[in-house]
Amino acid sequence: MIDTFLNLVPVTVVQSLLYAFAALAIMIPFRTLALPDLTVEGSLPLGGCLAAALLTAGLDAWSSTGLAVLAGCAAGMTTALIHLHLRVPSLLAGVLVATMVWSVDLRTMAVPNRAVPPELSIFDALSPAILLDVHLQMLLMAAIVGLLVVGLLLLYRTEIGLALRCVGANPRLAPALGINGRLYVVAGFGLANAIAALGGALIVQSQGYADVTMGFGVLVNALAALIIGEAIVGRAGIGRQLAAPVLGSLIYYQLTSLGLATGLNPSDLKFLTGAFVLITLALPLLTGRQRTIL
């Protein structure tokens, strides 16, 4: 039992790094902009399905992944524009876009799931050795996620990044300081969902297939990961805020792997993750402390 779990640790690390993109994508609207967004549930499969369709149609791995990222960005921006201009609550706007994107995914792939041969993948384009060696995959994914986190950290420290954080920290103050809040919300949602779509595109190229249902439950998993990460490193300062989703993702997927290895039924996972998120949300109410999760 434990052997099964231990054998799976490297594979699970790769998986958790692939899903760390979704957790980072959740963190940006929830924490930086203080405006919850559920588009990730649609932008991650959009990235995956579009990448699969483009790859199998013969486009190279870099362009396919790049276009997938742009599509995710567009999905996020659409959610923000619906929220800002049609005054639909951001959560509902995200659900609407995610639902509509499902049809787009089916249209682009033409079939509900599509195999992506490893030799077409971006990993193979880098080096054919990668997909054969789980340790190389770990290193590569750690490097990509690390670069992304450092990139975001640098972005958050620029003048524009600071304005983005101000829009979330005090939306009434932002316009008085000359910041066009709407523009930053649109850009922030775009950035977050571009990251989610990158995650989707990499997942598809790593597992070798895309499926229109691959986004189902991603949001709750990402939320659980974010909650775990924040419980460990906290939320004070942008360094911790950016580290939390990645660390949380690493732990969350090891926990589920441990659960499965000890005989947990995989189909019960969604219920358990949902219950975990619910309990963390309810806990502050029971203990009388202020709710800080959402």
Binding site: T158, E159, L162, N170, P175, A176, L177, G178, N180, G181
Partner: protein, 263 residues
């Protein structure tokens, strides 16, 4: 020079509960003037400030700052011309950001933002100097989160933020009203010092008649959305709070209370 002409604003327009907040205001403020805007609750003082800053759109009229027509400009664009300190200390600063990050954002108000590192040694030095003038010790806490500051410290910071790159118009919206009398005095003194240093054109809404009489160069009184009195520098000489109250038969409790209070 700030020119407001024929300004009108009604809330819930076209409904039974329509309320005219600004019923036609013409006001011009010369460069360097420090105008105190006084009047009872519901006189339209804060609405006027919101219209000038662009936080609310006006129904009719025109607003110009140094011959730039800002009437149709959104709030974030007007911010390059004017700065504002809010009544609520929670509104004027970003609590989860540090003191220096708040100051950077304030400095960017006029210049705009670019994709380059926000924190530089030069800026830090400048912020330290600007904060040292307050005498609150904030200059040694540049890296602390603003959420840790008291209401008075936040308001003092908001004031420094508003004046860091001198605006063409400074809007103060009862910015000392939420503070205890001692802190209120301290923030008011800092206001007068910063305003006179940079010779800022200032529009200050206040319920504190002492402050209006002592610090402003001109007092404009509003009632029911109109300007009902305009007391210039010459006329203001020798004016006492009691005179003001008597002259306009003030029935506003808050003002009368303040007469006994913060002396």
């Amino acid at each position: 020079m700030i020119v407001v002409s024929g300004l009108r604003k009604a809330f819930n327009r076209g409904t039974a509960s329509e309320k005219v907040a600004i019923a036609g205001i013409d006001l011009s403020v010369s460069r360097g003037e420090f105008v105190a805007l006084i009047g009872g609750n519901g006189a339209g003082k804060s609405t006027l400030l919101n219209l000038i800053s662009g936080a609310l759109p006006c129904d009719q009229g025109r607003i110009a700052v140094d011959d730039i027509d800002v009437t149709r400009m959104p709030e974030h664009e007007r911010a390059s011309l004017m700065a504002r300190v809010f009544q609520d200390p929670m509104v004027g600063t970003a609590p989860s950001l540090t003191i220096e990050e708040n100051l950077i954002l304030a400095q960017m108000r006029a210049e705009g933002r670019r994709l380059r590192p926000a924190l530089t040694t030069m800026r830090r030095t400048r912020f330290r100097n600007a904060l040292a003038g307050l005498g609150l010790g904030l200059e040694d806490r540049l890296g602390s989160t603003v959420a840790l500051l008291s209401g008075g410290q936040r308001q003092a910071l908001a004031l420094v933020m508003a004046t860091l790159s001198p605006p063409r118009l400074l809007l103060l919206d009862e910015h000392t009203a939420a503070l205890d009398p001692r802190t209120s005095q301290l923030v008011m003194e800092a206001t007068v010092r910063l305003v006179s240093q940079a010779m800022l054109t200032t529009l200050m809404v206040t319920h504190n008649m002492e402050h209006a009489v002592a610090f402003a160069s001109r007092i404009v009184m509003m009632d029911a959305g109109r300007v009902v009195a305009d007391i210039g520098a010459d006329e203001k000489k020798g004016l006492r709070v009691a005179d003001l109250a008597e002259r306009f038969r003030l029935s506003d409790d808050r003002m009368l209370l303040k007469r006994g209070g913060a002396a």
